[in-house]
């Protein structure tokens, strides 16, 4: 862990505080009466607002999770140096790609 990774991790954490709060409230609202794709998509489809919201959320979460898991692996696994960085970039990329794909899936 160094200052650059630290700043990114804490900044994305701070950014996600309101995003998660909104997400939790949305979940609590949506789960009432059972989940239905119709209901979810009616909310998100064609919505620039939700698109930006979830897009930003995905980007922040990808960076935050990649750095976070890297720290855990650095301390709890035998991985060191290069392998940690490679893991971080790959995991972050996977989350970003899958996440943005999901945003497109529910907004388009």
């Amino acid at each position: 862990m160094n200052v650059r990774l630290y700043v990114l991790q804490r900044a994305t954490a701070a950014l996600m505080v309101p995003l998660i709060a909104i997400h939790l409230v949305t979940i609590l609202y949506a789960i009432g009466g059972g989940l239905s794709a119709k209901e979810v998509l009616a909310r998100t489809q064609g919505s620039l607002g939700w698109g930006l919201f979830y897009g930003l959320f995905v980007l922040a979460a990808s960076v935050h999770a990649a750095i976070g898991v890297r720290s855990v692996l650095a301390e709890w696994s035998p991985m060191r140096g290069r392998s940690l960085d490679i893991f971080m970039w790959v995991f972050g990329a996977v989350l970003m790609v899958l996440g943005l794909r999901a945003v497109v899936a529910v907004v388009m």
Binding site: M1, N2, V3, R4, L5, Y6, V7, R10, E75, W76
Partner: protein, 238 residues
């Protein structure tokens, strides 16, 4: 019939075993009293460190029932719990023999964290006027009473998990120097604590703060270093 305590003492190096001794139980007894009695009356080959016996030097720190403590300031009655007393050397350090550890690593990290004063003036210059009420001096004073006993270092999970990590004591001292307006070494010091083994490895478990016998708060000091290094990073100074 005199009452006795069954005490387990670590014998050997980093690998070894616990040896059980029967020690006379007294009404007022510290863990250091126990260790001393064993070495003087039961087994003169027991190795341990102590100096002042009164809680000002930090030499007698050991692991008592799993926690790092000053043995001279630990009353047996306070820790005996279910009648068991287990004494081992401080954790996170190589064991020399029995209850003594090699503290070189602890002090080397002190140096790596630049935990030493760098003068900015000569004896020809006037004395720096520092108000004890200034924000920086108050911050330094809150953290300055460290006597390098190693309890925080032994308690720290990040030290245990990460060989590079400087540890709470070294970073706590670096924080006092960051707040010392006479010090000229802060550019290098911030670089040092922002690098690989530095303050960003701290996960605020607060074991150091909970266990420091001087009631210091390395967690808070390290948080201060995190703020300073973040500001320096954003300003492009790192």
């Amino acid at each position: 019939m005199q009452k006795t305590l069954e005490v387990s003492i670590w014998r050997g190096g980093s690998e070894g075993r616990y040896e059980v001794f029967s020690v006379p139980k007294r009404d007022n007894q510290t863990v250091l009293d126990i260790v001393t009695w064993i070495q003087r009356n039961a087994d003169p080959t027991l190795s341990y460190r102590f100096a002042c016996r009164v809680g000002v030097c930090g030499s007698c720190a050991m692991t008592v029932n799993g926690k790092p403590r000053w043995t001279c300031r630990t009353h047996v009655s306070k820790v005996i719990g279910d009648g068991k007393l287990e004494i081992a050397p401080l954790a996170n350090l190589p064991v020399v023999k029995d209850l003594t550890t090699d503290m070189s690593r602890f002090f080397e990290k002190w140096q790596e964290a630049k935990g030493h004063f760098v003068p900015s003036k000569t004896r020809a210059d006037p004395i720096e006027q520092i108000s004890p009420e200034s924000t920086e001096r108050r911050a330094a004073n809150e953290a300055i009473e460290c006597i390098n006993c190693g309890v925080c270092f032994a308690a720290c999970d990040s030290v245990r998990w990460n060989d590079d990590y400087f540890g709470p004591a070294a970073l706590n001292r670096a924080w006092t120097l960051v707040n010392d307006v006479r010090d000229a070494g802060n550019k290098e010091r911030l670089k040092a604590v922002a690098a690989k083994g530095g303050c960003h490895n701290c996960h605020s478990h607060q074991s150091c703060e909970q266990l420091c016998p001087q009631a210091l708060n390395p967690t808070a000091s390290i948080a201060g270093l995190k703020r300073r290094t973040m500001q320096a990073y954003i300003r492009g100074e790192l």
